[in-house]
């Protein structure tokens, strides 16, 4: 397959474009997704290619967008709903929790809720309040969703394709900080990156570092930095947060016996806890040091310049790696 160098946000647009071309039942809806191509240009060109019937600039109501997507799914369509920022999904939560997550169960399979809800997440773009949220854990905790958070252009395209084809409601969270940070080869044509599989970004034997989304970048940096000191970290990018790839997580930990979990979300109640509990249950006897968390603080998300102090950075990650390895 030929490949092209794409940014993550371009890969998102390409996945949408290709699936809409393949499957007539795929429609795109959201605020400003059409004529403007989205506030991040994640749907650039899609309106021009498929027109106003299949690409709809909706009224400004996240409740309405989610509700309409649920109804579209029930009708047999395959909606991709965009919520402009994860911080604006809150108005959609009643629709999502009470309905999208339950429709298949409550109709005993008659009405699967085949929909993708896309939203950029995470901080780091110096935007106003609610533009830096990382609340993926709440979607992981509520049964009935699949939750995906790619960190590379290749995965973004493959996972979004898989999400659109999946019969269940998939929450698709895009790391906005790295939407345009780098390009990589992305195959032309459609392909799926399977939902539920983590990616080992760096193999190593001394410590497992688990992360996802934009945090994979500082994590990889930190891993390379400590590698220079003779520590050999394994970096696991979860990619899918629900279902978690417990096999890969546990295997990695069994190999290294040490772990650091990195996420932007606030510490308390974040998914680092879930991962720690999993390792406890499945591999306690391999464990050689406390599992450390490098996360956002339990603070109301600090804005603009102060963001720098909220997000996990390479220095903090390096320190955590060293600390668990030194034990």
């Amino acid at each position: 397959m030929a490949a092209e160098k794409l940014t993550l946000v371009e890969a998102v647009a390409e996945a949408i474009h290709d699936e809409m071309a393949e499957d007539e039942s795929v429609v795109l809806l959201g605020e400003d997704v059409g004529r403007s191509g989205g506030v991040f240009r994640a749907t650039e060109g899609v309106y021009d290619a498929f027109g106003p019937e299949r690409v709809i600039d909706t009224p400004l109501s996240e409740t309405g967008i989610a509700g309409a997507a649920i109804g579209l799914a029930a009708s047999g369509m395959r909606p991709i709903a965009e919520i402009q920022f994860m911080g604006f999904t809150y108005a959609a939560l009643e629709q999502l929790f009470t309905r999208a997550a339950r429709m298949n169960a409550r109709s005993r399979g008659q009405f699967p809720c085949r929909m993708v809800l896309r939203a950029p997440f995470g901080g780091g773009v110096r935007a106003p309040d609610l533009h830096g949220e990382s609340m993926e854990a709440i979607f992981v905790h509520h049964p009935g969703f699949k939750v995906v958070a790619p960190s590379t252009p290749h995965d973004a395209k493959g996972l979004l394709t898989a999400a659109i084809r999946d019969p269940d409601p998939v929450m698709f969270f895009e790391p906005k900080k790295i939407y345009r940070s780098f390009r990589e080869d992305v195959p032309e044509g459609t392909y799926e990156t399977p939902i539920g599989e983590a990616a080992v970004r760096r193999e190593g034997s001394d410590v497992s570092v688990f992360t996802w989304g934009a945090s994979t970048r500082p994590t990889q940096e930190a891993a390379e930095a400590v590698a220079g000191e003779g520590i050999d970290p394994e970096v696991v990018d979860l990619r899918t947060l629900s279902p978690m790839d417990t096999g890969t997580i546990v295997e990695s930990f069994k190999k290294t016996g040490r772990a650091v979990v990195v996420h932007e979300a606030p510490r308390t109640g974040g998914l680092a806890g879930e991962i720690t509990a999993l390792l406890q249950e499945e591999a306690l006897y391999y464990q050689e040091a406390p599992i450390e968390r490098v996360t956002g603080w339990d603070a109301v998300y600090p804005l603009y310049e102060l963001e720098d102090f909220q997000l996990p950075n390479a220095a903090r990650i390096e320190e955590a790696i060293r600390s668990v390895v030194e034990v």
């Binding site: 429609v27 019937e53 299949r54 709809i56 909706t58 009224p59 109501s61 409740t63 309405g64 989610a66 509700g67 309409a68 997507a69 649920i70 109804g71 579209l72 799914a73 029930a74 009708s75 047999g76 369509m77 909606p79 108005a91 009643e94 629709q95 009470t98 309905r99 429709m103 298949n104 169960a105 409550r106 109709s107 005993r108 399979g109 008659q110 009405f111 699967p112 085949r114 049964p143 009935g144 699949k146 999946d166 019969p167 269940d168 539920g196 629900s242 279902p243 417990t246």
Partner: protein
Amino acid sequence: MARFPEEYDDCERILAPDGSYDAEAVAALDLTDEELRGMYGSMIQARALEERGLTLQRQGEFHFWMECRGLEASHVGPAAALSDRDWMNTEWRQYGAQIQRGRPLEDILLFWLRGYEEWAADSIAEMEPYERRMPHIVAVGTQLPQTAGLMWGRKLQGKDEVGLVSVGDGGASKGDFHAGLNFAGALELPVVFLLLNNQWAISTPVERQTAADTYADRAAGYGFEGTLVDGNDVLATYRATKRAVEAARAGEPHLLEVLTYRRGAHSSSDADDYRENVDIEAWRERDPIDRYETFLEDRGLLGPDDFESIREAAEERAREAAESALEIAETQSPEEVFDEVFANPPDYVDDQREELLDLVDRHGEAAFRW
């Protein structure tokens, strides 16, 4: 808000509470005798089911029941006005609407016993009219944007179908109401919004729910028409819905406010001890079934003996359906906890199911009961 339909100048009516009626209007309805009798049958069946449900709830067989008496015309007429291909997303309380569309009583009752629903059809194309609905919602109001989305999808698929969705006077305060109507207007969706104003949301009377004079007035704010109808007049609710459905089919959504009154308690969990200045008697005099019986007799369509036998048959059917539903519900087993959580389930679902079954196996089901 005023309390009785006759207090509104523009409230549509065909049948008066005393059974007198506008004969021209009846003729214009173009309903066959069979159809006129059919609506009666649905109302009677709804009331019989209601009584059965209440009895069973009191006996502890059902955990919960919502009361419906006196509300039958408000939803039977609208259901009758739909074509077979149309969709109907009503709430739980509207038994009569479900019955009118042919939903088996047993199926209605099973929802109360299991909290989920099942469909026989393999696909939408194969659905019976009564199957053309989404599963019941519980979060009041959420059905409105969902129905907008459903009909948007059907429209995109080139289907000539209309969706009727109901909401109460309470549910109309939710943001979903706003989103549903606004989406329908902006996207020109074939949806009829049936606002069942029974003047109570549990203990909250409509005067405290909103300062609006009528709910029908809200339609203008979304760019379409609204109509106010006497909700205890099954012919008027039929006619107004028919017209609204036609408008919706042509791309113009409609808001139909059907004014009635919840005479019973909200539900079996409701002590119903909060009402001030209620006039249940005045509403009993406006009973939708009584006035329709007077009409049917006057037209020579049915007589007192027929009423009697129809009622008895309805009671018998309700009894049978309840027995059968209870029997079916008995068969639920622990692993159903995990049924259809996903259409394409991740491994952990199987793992947890096994964990549960193993626990049940070792401890026995009794250890799980409280």
